[in-house]
Each structure stands twice: as C-alpha cells, then as structure tokens.
Subunit: 434 residues, 2 copies
Amino acid sequence: MVKSISIGLLGLGTVGSGVVQIVERHQDKLMHQIGCPVEVTKIVVKNLDKKRDIDIDPAKLTTDPNEVIENPNIDIVVEVMGGIEETRNYVIKALRNKKHVVTANKDLMAVYGAELLQIAAENGCDLFFEASVAGGIPIIRSLVEGLASDRILKLMGIVNGTTNYILTKMTEEGRAYEEVLKEAQALGYAEADPTSDVEGLDAARKMAILATLGFSMLIDLDDVKVTGISNITEEDLEYCKRLGYTMKLIGIASRDEQDKVEVSVQPTLLPNSHPLASVNDVFNAVYVYGEAVGETMFYGPGAGRLPTATAVVSDVVEVMKNMRLGVNGNRFAAPQFTKQLKSDEEIYSKYFLRIHVKDQAGAFAAITSLFADYNVSFEKILQLPLKDSDLAEIVIITHQASKKAYDEIMKKLNSLDVVYEVKSSYRVEGEEVL
Amino acid sequence: MVKSISIGLLGLGTVGSGVVQIVERHQDKLMHQIGCPVEVTKIVVKNLDKKRDIDIDPAKLTTDPNEVIENPNIDIVVEVMGGIEETRNYVIKALRNKKHVVTANKDLMAVYGAELLQIAAENGCDLFFEASVAGGIPIIRSLVEGLASDRILKLMGIVNGTTNYILTKMTEEGRAYEEVLKEAQALGYAEADPTSDVEGLDAARKMAILATLGFSMLIDLDDVKVTGISNITEEDLEYCKRLGYTMKLIGIASRDEQDKVEVSVQPTLLPNSHPLASVNDVFNAVYVYGEAVGETMFYGPGAGRLPTATAVVSDVVEVMKNMRLGVNGNRFAAPQFTKQLKSDEEIYSKYFLRIHVKDQAGAFAAITSLFADYNVSFEKILQLPLKDSDLAEIVIITHQASKKAYDEIMKKLNSLDVVYEVKSSYRVEGEEVL
C-alpha cells in the first residue's frame, strides 16, 4: 500500500485551482486517512499559456482530454470544467475506462445524473457529486447516509448564493433589485448574464438533484416549476418586514403520504423565526424535514473556490477509501419509487398577495367573496389608501389553499371591476411544517 | 443475499423504543438500501413486566444481556441502556464476539471511546455513535467524512437542549433561572437532578467526542474546562440584549497553527448575527469552521425518541452496507496527532464583565488602569448609577485578552478599593472567527 493515487483534473478554473491547493495543503491529513500519497498528475485546460494564480508544473497541463480520461495511470477524474453535452461524453468515457469520477457540475448531474450513475454502477466505479449542490455543505452525504433510516418528507433550500445576496441586500437596505444586481455583478457575486441565477434555473437544477436523492425517485429538471426574483420590489419586501416575514428564493420539494411529490423554486415568504430566514448574503442552507428526525438544517458557503474544492476533495477521499477496500460503486441505490407528481389540486400553501383596488365601497367585499367562492380564507389583511391616488392597496396572507384554487382566483381577480392591478403574489411557507 | 439481519437491543427506554419503531416503520426503505430484511430480535430490559407504549412480542424480551451479546444469531448490538462501567463491559464482550455495535451513549464514548474503537478495530467490527452527540444531527459523519479533506480549526456547539431551553426562555421572557428550570422539569426537558445538564457536564462529554474527531487527537473529558449556567441572572441577559448579544451555553474547541487545542464549555455571549445565536429552545447546533470551507453549521433536534433513534438506525444502515461489502471496521482512523493543550496564555477571547463599584471619582480610572496594566483594552463600556444605592454598575466588553491576563485581572479587581462586587463575567465569541 505505498502506491500513490493519481488524480486527473478536467478544468483548472476557480474550483479546479482550489482542488490543487487543498490536495497539496492538506496532504498530511489525506495520507493519514487513506494510507498513501495522492497527487494531481494531469490537468486539462483550454489555454496552456494562461496566467494562473497558483503554481503548477507546466508539464502537468494539457489541452487534450484523452490524456486524462484515457490515461492508464490516472485513478480518479475530477470534472470541474462545467458544461453539459461535451462533458457528459468525457465522463462516460472515463467511467467506461474504469476511472472513478468526482464532479462539481450541477448542470450535468441535473440533466444526465441518472444515466451517469447507471454507467458508473455498471463499471464498478464511484461517481460522486457532493460539490454540485450547496458548495461546501455536505448535504448529499447527510441526505443519503446521515438520514438513511428516515423518510424525508420535505426539503427547503436556499441553494443559490447570488439571489440570496441580492434579496439580503434589498431587504436590509431597502434598495431596488436592479441596483443591487449591478452591485452583485461588480463584486463578482453575479455573472454578466445573471439569468440562470436570478430566474431560478440554477436553484432548480440543485433541487432536482436533492429531490431525486431525498425521495429516491428520479426527478427531472422539467418537473421543477420555477419563478425567479427579478420582479420583486422594495414595496413587497417592506410588507414582508411589517408582517414578520423574510423573503427568500426557496427551492421546495415535498412528498405526501402516497409518495406524490412537488418540486418548485420561487420567491417565498418565511416567518422570521424559521431557521432559513436568517441565512443571509451568499450563504446557502438546506432545511430537511424527516418523518422521524423532524427539523434539521445544514448551513454553509454555497460557492467559492476553497469551500467547493473541499467538497470535491472530501469526495475524492471517499473514493480512495473505497479503492483501498475494493468497494467502489456501491454508494447510491437505484431509485426506490416511480415518480408521481402532485397535481395543482394537491399542492397546498399559503400565499401573499398585494393588489391595488379602486378605493370605493364594496371593493373589499368583492374580493373576499371571490376568495370565499373557492373556500380560501385570510390569515392577515392590511388595507391602506395609496398616496396621491384614488386607489387603495390591499395586502393579504391567505390560509392554506390549493394551487389550483389560487390560480383560478388570480385569473378572476384581474377581471373584477374593483381591481385595478394585481401587483404581486408569492408563496408563504413555514408556519406549519407540512 | 436473502438472509435477514438481526439486531439485539441493550435497553428499551425512550431511544430503544424509537429504534424498534423506526426499524418497523421504515422497513421498506431499509430493505431497499441493504437488500435484505432487518429485524430487532432480542431486547434486554430490566423489567419484563413493565408496561410499554409500543407493541413488542414478549418472547423478544430478556433480562440477561448475554442473550444479546453472546447470541450467535445477532449481527448488530444497539446499546441504548446508558451507564458507563457495566455498559463498557457489555460493549467489549459484544465486540470480542464479532458483533458490530451502535451506541447512543455519550458518557461511555467520552470516557472509553478510544479503548472501544481500538477493540472494535482489532475485531474487524464497526463501532458507530452518531446519536451520542446532538441527537438527530449527523454531525459525526459530517466531520469525519463530509469535511474529510479540510483542516478543522474551530468547533462551537450548542449541544445540550435543556440548557438551551432554559436560556431561551430566560432571554425571551426575562424570567429567573430557578423559575425556568422548574418549568423545564415539569415539561420533561430537565431531569429531577439537573446537575449534569445545567453545570455543563453533558455538553463537555459531547465536546470531548467532537474535538477528538474534529482534530484527530485524543481529548479526554478532563481536558474540557466547564462552567454551567446556574449563576446567570436576568440582569446579565438584559445587558446582553442591550449590547446586541445572545447568551448561549457554548462548547468551544479550537486549535492553533501548532495544533495546540483548547476545549471548554461555558456561558458565552454571541453577536445576534452569529448563526448559533438564533438556535433556540431544545434545538442543538454545531458550528464548524474549516480552514478551506469556512463557516458551516449543522442544526436539528438534540434529543428525543425518534430523532435520536434516526441517528442510531442510520448508523445501523451503514453497518449493514459494510456487512454486505465485507468492509466493517474501517471508518475511523486512529488519531493523527498527539494531544497538546493550550496554556492559559494561549487561550484568547473577549470577555463580558459586570461589576458594582463605589459611585465616586476615580473608580472608573482605577479599573481601566488595572486592565491597562495587562494590555487589555475595552470594546464597549456602559456605566449606570444603581437605584437606591451609592454604587454604580459598570458593564464592559473587552477586546481579545489571554485567559491568563484576564484571570489575573479578575483576582486583582476584587481587591481594588473602589470595587464593591464583581457580579458576573462571561466569554464573548463570534465577531472574529478565530
């Protein structure tokens, strides 16, 4: 047991550089755990001459992916290049060449996870992806192993740091979405094209991965209903505060007693006392409700070079331990359940609704009567005259309503004479757990 | 692979009953993961005739521990009877009989953990103890596996639900310690003799276990310096609030660059923005600061029948997976480092100090000059006259000071002419991470 273990990297961006750093810096601890040295021996990059902020022996760099995935001396392929289609081909090739794969790629895993895990299993290889969801937080391990004996009923995640940063600043400083987005871009917390983050797609990918593991059921990205944060206004957040709520972009995955599930991502009001409500700035957190364990939460950095690289290298450690014991390819069980999605009639939640109505007798009555037609009642109501206007603003928090009933109410609201404009509507979670 | 796996239980109290329930209720999920049925076949109890709140086949009950630990048909022994000396003997016997052991017993693991892990390793057996720290939170797994590649620099834990409940109620409702303790006893959150909880001993045991794993260094219970919560007053908590802090009973384990460590448990002021500050009631949480990952936190129920049983059965699942693969006895590496404890000169923190002084010219100057002699400066100061008295109250938050310097200041303070009484003194953590 003196042979050293060889890692090949696909990609040397932020996370890849972090992996190189951690493998070097924590070599003692790694050796202590696995009993032999471990080294990054080959790194696939796009540009050999690019200036990098870490020292790398140029002989390790190559532009040819086959020097990693076809290389008989490489034991573990770490995929941190991103992308989907081309990357999928590399990963498949690596697995067929009996190389274990560790990836930080949520896009890849959300789309091709099931296929890749299948190929890994057929080849007796590990395919680990802890870093693909919530960066440095060991949430996949906790779901799959730490809560192995429990029946997970609900997952709620703040799994996108960019949007959490934006909402935190908007809430704390009363500033507008566009302004805070620009600041986030300047700070490097948001990309030049922020669509994937702010429209909730990035969070949706992570929720598909978490729901698949948590419910042991193959959830496709298309099953996740998504609404982003770009329409949230300062006024909405002001009302949140007044009513004792905090607005977060929340990924929700829940299942009922018949194992029917709902997976969605949307701006959501949480009571200030909810554990997720105080998760601020770029931090991520995943709240897990298990039938037996009750409420748990896992909190930490959702991105960043070293946090993400920690998750990658911790996966590598597990691959190496498995290699030593000769038991790779056994971590993930195939899904236990066939997917059943809840219909809109089976998805229940509370809602926050802000509308502008004509400030006249009967306006409020017309609205309450519409809700009453669908048996939806109110938990909280605010009505305020709007300055310099003949309109009034009504803010409502409903009791539990089915999505179907609520959507129909929304449609009809717009055609009520007394309604001038529906300004905003958000889901409300967290007072009752399920 | 159709043979069923047999569990023998030592103890059928709260957690033991939960284990029986979860094994039955989640049998489908367990079978899916391990590929064969699992059953609790034998249970050691003190009293065969005791009325219990779960249905148990009386034929499974026995008062003779040997029917479990010497039973050739039993694969896994789950120890949930509590106690230390006698229990240690049973666990050793079970391991020598090649039975894997899962325990929820922090007292046992804090005192004999190293010895028992050694015996387990010698016998190729698993000895898992996730439930021994922070109940339903998979913190041991997260430290040992999820953060395997990182270097843990600091652990801070709210690891005792009773004291967290008491401090939460005292803080929220401005009530006195004795009164809230009585309420906690009536609610079953505190025991008739609450000493082990309120004096911090229970937390100390858990911190010894966490520090041993987090720092890969054998920390003895005697290495943990402990102060409990029984002297905390409403006045102290009122000042906490005013100054933007929350008081918690915090277990701290930290290590410096030379791998010297400090492990302690004491009432501690945390800034309200600290992730641990909003962990309330009987909930537990462990904050982990890793060199690479930065700040993470693991939150959940610290006790209770089903949460604790979830942790136990999740450990059982891992034992069974290992049995299937034939790789038991490989989870825990022996400690990497020899223990080195920090001296009082090397332990740094901020302090909160409340003193009553004679309300006369020069009083404050005498105090500041004493602190200045030791190079300890102040971050915040409040001075208020005391009603109906010729005394004044001074509340100080210091900057970082060594424990040695601070302890010497404390001694001299009492002999200063102007000081009437030192009312209270607490550690302050959390603005700077390390």
